[in-house]
Symmetry: C2
Subunit: 428 residues, 2 copies
């Protein structure tokens, strides 16, 4: 049995439950105790008396392999960005090796910046699983379901079967959780969406989908079906407690009420929506209506990093300025989006530090200049910190980052491989 301690000057068990000067005891994959005194038998101690200890961050929407496209195309209108840059780059470069390498880079970046679980959708998703396992990060993964041929599947009539095979391979894994991932209402027929939803019900897993991201998406679906994307999904029974809808930028009040009623979780991607100028999701109204809102970074081609702590600060400020109300998205509410709400969205017991909960725990270095002094640790995480302040990371009871170094990634070799593919992709 593995057994060690994490010392915190401040332990944020959850947004509204902060305790000072304690030790968290980790046994195997779980938290076994939170105590004032270090048990005599424990030799290994992470953290220290100045550090801020908190639940690992949960990124509920990303496309991990796209780290390799970080910065290839910025400051462009959405359609030019997609059609002239991202789609051609994907057609040219995305294969199994690309997905594996990009996911290794993403898992390294995520763990180093305090993300301990992520929900991903892309192609060759087995490679994402392989990379996540290797780095030791918890993951919810979905192989993209499309009505068109994809980089990983030439014959779209096999897309559901292809997804079912993927799911079967990962159902028993302790760290990797398969999901069903139909891309969006504009890239899947209603029949395909129904089949995908049935698949998620069959296995009892998450059904993740891009939903109402842009005005043009909503207009397109209205033209085609005389319904909004939300209405379309509801009409075929795809809105349910296992549904995780990414973006939800363009929503009416009725649609928000419907998402709440159906128990749908939303992944809010503030920085991506800002950078692509897609719009501002009505998060304060969703929260007021009882929708479970979590946070995602989206892929690195539209953000351009996977820093969930940076995302927190942006989210809180965006909704204050959008409503002209500084009390909106206060620090505790915002903190919860990236932790316990993320866990709820994934039907996962983490996101809170407590006895019996999974040991997914991060340590922020209290000697970083931007974290001195500490009047309020939750405020620091939301408004003052960044992902590079994360010193130690424990996932499922295993130490994956210690003293700013990854214990599971050969950092030098990874950088070397990324530089090789950079030379092929880079315009400059």
């Amino acid at each position: 049995m593995s057994r060690f301690a994490i010392q915190g000057g401040y332990i944020i068990k959850s947004a509204r439950d902060v305790v000072a000067d304690k030790y968290i005891i980790v046994e195997d994959s779980l938290i076994s105790e939170i105590t004032d005194v270090l048990p005599l038998d424990i030799v290994d101690v992470l953290g220290g008396p100045l550090d801020i200890v908190m639940p690992g961050l949960i990124n509920t929407h990303t496309h991990a392999p796209m780290t390799l496209f970080r910065g290839i195309a910025d400051d462009l209108p959405l359609m030019a960005w997609l059609n002239d840059h991202i789609f051609p780059a994907e057609a040219k470069f995305v294969d199994k090796d690309f997905v594996y390498l990009g996911s290794l880079l993403a898992a390294w970046e995520m763990t180093r910046s305090g993300t301990t679980a992520f929900c991903d959708g892309y192609f060759f998703e087995d490679e994402v699983g392989k990379a996540a396992r290797e780095v030791g990060i918890r993951a919810w993964l979905g192989e993209g379901i499309l009505q068109f041929p994809s980089p990983s599947l030439a014959d779209p009539s096999r897309t559901i079967e292809h997804s079912r095979e993927f799911i079967s391979r990962w159902m028993e894994d302790s760290l990797i959780n398969p999901t069903v991932f139909p891309h969006a209402t504009y890239t899947c027929t209603p029949a395909l969406l129904s089949q995908a939803f049935e698949l998620s019900q069959e296995f009892g897993i998450i059904f993740q989908i891009h939903l109402s991201e842009t005005l043009s998406e909503v207009a397109q679906i209205r033209d085609r079906y005389n319904m909004t994307p939300v209405e379309l999904l509801d009409s075929i029974g795809c809105l349910a407690p296992n549904t995780l809808a990414a973006h939800c930028v363009i929503l009416s009040s009725d649609e928000i009420a419907l998402l709440a009623e159906r128990g749908v979780s939303v992944a809010h991607n503030a920085e991506s929506n800002m950078k692509l100028a897609s719009g501002i999701a009505p998060i304060p109204e969703m929260l007021a209506r009882g929708v479970n809102v979590s946070l995602g970074t989206d892929g690195c081609a539209s953000n351009n990093n996977l820093d969930m702590i940076g995302e927190l600060s942006c989210v809180a400020k965006l909704h204050k300025i959008n409503t002209m109300d500084p009390t909106v998205l206060d620090e505790c509410t915002t903190f919860a989006l990236a932790t316990q709400n993320g866990a709820s969205a994934l039907n996962f017991a983490g996101g809170i530090l407590d006895v019996g909960r999974p040991a997914d725990i991060i340590v922020l270095d209290g000697t970083c200049p931007n974290l001195v002094p500490v009047h309020n640790p939750v405020s620091h995480v939301v408004y003052a910190a960044n992902g590079s302040n994360v010193k130690d990371v424990v996932i499922n009871g295993a130490v994956v980052v210690k003293g700013y170094r990854s214990l599971t990634v050969d950092e030098e070799a990874l950088i070397r491989e990324c530089r090789k593919i950079q030379k092929k992709i880079s315009r400059i």
Copy 2:
């Protein structure tokens, strides 16, 4: 003569002038050469073949000592924040020792996150100068001019004289540049503003002021003088090329044209304005009309850090979403705000890396996960990096940060002192 080199895989001389694989040679306080080959006589080399080298960031509006108030009051309406929290805390705690300690913390945080020059306004500003000198950061400093008693001056009739004395003490310093700092149009009479402006002309120095930050400020000035704050300043001749106006959130198109015509520089404080829900300054229109726009973080009671790299990302995204145009504030434009435009605002020769320019240079660590791979270094600085990716910092030819450690600050002693005052201030 001191002589050393900085190696860069990418050297961003300015936003639109990036060169690969070069060495910058620093001699005394200046850049003497940018070359492909390391001169034989040079032994000391900072940076490396993977790193991004760029001009140090220039923060044109902050209140350094307020670092000690980081996180004491968040998510509050502006007036409750000021009257119930900040003003009482300042009345209780701000004295010479507080200002010195808070400024030391700020200078440490700024240098560690790549800021090499800042423009500050507060009380006991000699202490800010003392701390900045000690840490080795370039500073433009102004002692607050008010029509009321201040923490550093009981008799407001002496405020101009008090400022003149401050200026005289620092006029000959190589690193510290005195400025004139009347707080705002609502805290200084027109006569006082005129005297302050004359003082700035007499010494040929920067005249910095808070301007049109909130709707309530504009309403108040309109009630009192039947003019907007901008119109009031112009009516008494205070808008000039040495004027640096902070915030400028509430501006008409005519006022923007007037600021451009008078050659006024603006310090944009996006994160502070978002957090306090003050509004969004019309930066794209200012830039289109030719106003010189620079960036500030504002004080740590309203941001809550001094990270200029984090600010860059937020600024670019805020104006994209506000205009629903992703091409607005592109990466090169945004990068310039925090570098060469800041230098212009302060009438300083830095902000660009070139032969004969001041050696204010920073190195971003190219082995940080969020900076791998490097398709576009300017994009990385604006969209992917954070202040904690800064590894080495050179100011005025002196190395002040090397390998993430400050060479000029006793980091442990400083943290200890900050923790002592934290115990006095902290609510928790």
